[in-house]
């Protein structure tokens, strides 16, 4: 018997993965994907079955660990935010060449509008690039059902399958019907080792097999329960609606009844046959999709005679940002009440460091120690501490990708910048800072690396940090001179001595690691 529960999109994915018999889940926290592994960590059945559910160092290790579980014949899931797939791109693309043994689901949560991200890249391009199927739910219920379908498809076609959600679905709650659980797979590593040994001869053979599977993937999409051709009498316009865009379309018609023919696309490669029929039948085509104009480009075709296509490219919809029901209403030419103007007294309220945050104290002594070097600009990284780029701190001057503070500061030092300063959080450091520090230690680069150690992954809500209490040992192990590894406690009462200690390292023509250690105030409150 099925029963109904209230789930965030992320939670529906997590529950479905447990129900569909995964043996392991791997992830690094990142908005809007974090709640998936958090849910599994809290789930009693995960504990009872001992499903793997600890955080990984980064998305690449998560993806490779999931690949290993699949190699062993069991079902696995790797979860990440969209930019995390850049980090995991090497194992992800090559996992398409090895193929899957046990079901392998790669869940990627995109963040159009960049609510909590540095870009709004669309993961559908990654699935196309790796030539694997992708599922994109339009509801929390589909998110649940697609985890089941995706793992089955992965085992049937023996390829990894991507499940793509966007922020709005990931962080929206709705009622979901769940199914009785399926048992986990038994251990069964592949009989033929050539499958996972991508020597050129094996890789060519595997690649040819992947190319042969493309037709199966299109046929699977055309037969998919998640794709549909919905009829409509008014063929002056045909609509292709992908993922949650179909909801914004239905929102604009009473009872959700769109008068135009619609092709709903939630499983990729995009189903060719129904789209071709729609183009034949309708004078104009409107493409509604969350993210980049992925289907729109495919339908438009750049170098042959195109049908009359509207979407994000021609400006019928905004080119950037997440879709809204209002954008879709405008693209449909539907009357809409004029938006009320924002009252003049309203001021922006950007996020800021919490009262009592250790990073605030660190930025105060960093700024003061740097007063001796006018114009100096510390390079930084991704986390709560990125808010130090804003007033009243104005303390850091970059945020690019996980770990780039150390490597960019090293590049700046190589270019002759003095003092070269990097500011990175403890978890960002273990994610992708360690290898950069190894470069610097190997070359004895003159720079000062501040590791802001609040003993947690703060920005995403306080997940375990893998470095907990071991940063100085890691730095020493990489070859940083222990005489230049300092531990400071960022508290107002220590301000003067912290300024002095940091000033000594800034003046040192060599590599220093200054660990600014005090626990996150939010985590303390919870304890």
């Amino acid at each position: 018997m099925q029963h109904t529960r209230l789930f965030l999109g992320d939670e529906a994915i997590a529950q479905a993965a447990l129900d569909a018999g995964i043996s392991a889940a791997y992830a690094y926290p990142g908005t809007p994907s974090t709640e998936i592994l958090e849910y599994i960590q809290r789930a009693p059945e995960a504990a009872a079955r001992n499903v793997h559910r600890a955080w990984s160092a980064n998305e690449k290790t998560a993806m490779e660990e999931a690949l290993g579980v699949s190699w062993a014949g069991k079902r696995a899931m790797a979860c990440m935010k969209h930019v995390g797939l850049n980090v995991a791109a090497d194992p992800f693309v090559n996992a398409a060449i090895t193929g899957a043994n046990g079901g392998l689901l790669v869940v990627v949560a995109d963040d159009p509008s960049m609510h909590s991200s540095q870009n709004e890249q669309d993961s559908r391009f990654y699935a196309k690039f790796a030539m694997v199927p992708l599922l994109e739910p339009s509801s929390q219920q589909e998110a649940y059902d697609m985890v089941w379908a995706g793992l089955d498809l992965s085992e049937k076609l023996r390829v990894p399958v991507v499940l793509r959600v966007t922020t709005r679905l990931a962080h929206s709650r709705a009622d979901v019907r769940v199914r009785p659980p399926r048992p986990e797979n038994p251990l069964s590593p592949p009989p033929d080792s050539r499958q996972y040994t991508l020597l050129p001869g094996n890789a060519r053979r595997n690649y040819a097999a992947l190319l042969r599977k493309q037709r199966d993937m299109i046929e699977a999409a055309e037969a998919s329960e998640f794709n549909a051709a919905l009829d409509g009498a008014d063929t002056s316009l045909g609509i292709i609606a992908a993922g949650i865009a179909i909801n914004y379309l239905r929102e604009n018609y009473p009872g959700g009844a769109c008068p135009h023919p619609v092709v709903k696309v939630c499983q990729y490669p995009a189903p060719e046959a129904p789209i071709a029929r729609l183009i034949e039948r309708c004078r104009r085509i409107l493409v509604l999709e969350e993210g980049a104009p992925y289907i729109e480009e495919m339908v438009r075709g750049h170098f042959r005679k195109s049908p009359d296509v509207r979407g994000r490219i021609d400006g019928a919809l905004p080119r950037a940002g997440e879709l809204t029901p209002d954008d879709v209403a405008a693209a449909l030419g539907l009357a809409h009440p004029p938006a009320l103007k924002l009252a003049e007294v309203v001021r922006p309220r950007p996020p800021q460091l919490c009262r009592g945050c250790p990073h605030a104290d660190t930025y105060k002594f960093l700024n003061e120690a740097l007063r001796a070097y006018p114009g100096s600009r510390p390079l930084s990284d991704i986390g709560c501490y990125t808010l130090g780029a804003l007033p009243p701190y104005d303390a850091i001057h970059s945020c690019v990708d996980m770990g780039a503070s150390i490597t960019m500061a090293k590049g700046a030092a190589d270019a002759g910048v003095r003092p070269a300063v990097a500011v990175i959080g403890d978890s960002t450091f273990t994610h992708s800072g360690i290898t950069g520090l190894l470069d610097a230690a190997y070359e004895r680069t003159p720079m000062t690396v501040l590791v802001l150690d609040n003993d947690t992954v703060g920005m995403t809500g306080g997940q375990e940090s893998l470095s907990s209490g071991r940063l100085e040992g890691i730095a020493a192990g990489l070859g940083v001179d222990p005489a230049h590894i300092k531990i400071l406690t960022p508290l107002p009462k220590n301000h003067d001595e912290n300024v002095k200690a940091l000033a000594e390292e800034l003046a040192y023509e060599g590599l220093s690691v200054v660990i600014c250690r005090r626990a996150c105030i939010q985590i303390r409150k919870r304890q």
Binding site: L6, T31, P32, T34, E35, H115, S116, R168, L169, H171, S172, R173, A174, D175, I244, N247, Y248, R250, E251, G256, T324, P325, D326, A329, H336, P337, A339, L340, K341, L342, A343, V345, V346, R347, P348, R349, P350, P351, Q352, L353, C354, C384, L387, P391, M459, T460, G461
Partner: protein, 195 residues
């Protein structure tokens, strides 16, 4: 029956608790619901919101279309104005008077209040003060919910059950104080609506 409610405030003010209690009411009444919320960077003291859609029929979009919300519940007066465009012309604005001044250029609170009072249908009151007087200083969110509940097609008892469920793990005293806050604010809304 349908209620499209936008809840707004500042990260850390407890707007998700309002959404969760409304969710409990909807589930108990076997209604459909979709509720989206803000996680991540904005939760650090920035402007946050939640779209709550409750309906006896199918709900499509997770987001309420602009200009279509039946109600806007604001934990903070300037945040009420930030999201006022979401309200339908006949929608109710339920707002806390108490400002959260965590930016250097926060306007004169009186100017903010005047803008809210210019809206045709509003209940503006100091929810923080009301909650404190009723014995639960941290229950400004429950006070706003109490005022909002007066304008919804669901009986007070359904809200009271949901509140009792929400705070049950914190003991009878906390439950009782929150119920008192709810009742006082609902009565306040009733008297304001009659004006």
């Amino acid at each position: 029956m349908k209620h499209d409610i936008l809840i707004a405030g500042v990260g850390g003010q407890g707007i998700l608790t309002i959404a969760t209690i409304l969710g409990r009411v909807a589930v108990a009444k076997e209604l459909h619901l979709k509720q989206c919320e803000v996680h991540g960077m904005a939760q650090r003291g920035g402007a946050v919101y939640s779209h709550m859609r409750i309906s006896s029929g199918a709900i499509w979009s997770d987001m309420i279309p602009c200009g279509a919300a039946d109600m806007l519940i604001a934990m903070e007066p300037m945040e009420a104005l930030r999201y006022a465009a979401w309200l339908a012309p006949e929608g109710w604005l339920i707002a806390n008077e108490e400002p959260v001044v965590n930016i250097p250029d926060y306007p004169e609170p009186e100017r903010v209040h005047a803008e809210i009072r210019a809206r045709p249908r509003h209940v503006l009151f100091n929810a923080t003060e009301l909650a404190t007087k009723a014995g639960a200083s941290r229950a400004a969110n429950v006070a706003l919910l109490g005022a909002a509940s007066y304008f919804m097609e669901m009986p007070a008892a359904a809200f009271e059950q949901a509140i009792a469920g929400q705070f049950a793990s914190k003991g009878d005293k906390v439950v009782g104080a929150n119920l008192a806050v709810f009742k006082a604010a609902r009565e306040l809304a009733e008297s304001r609506a009659a004006e």
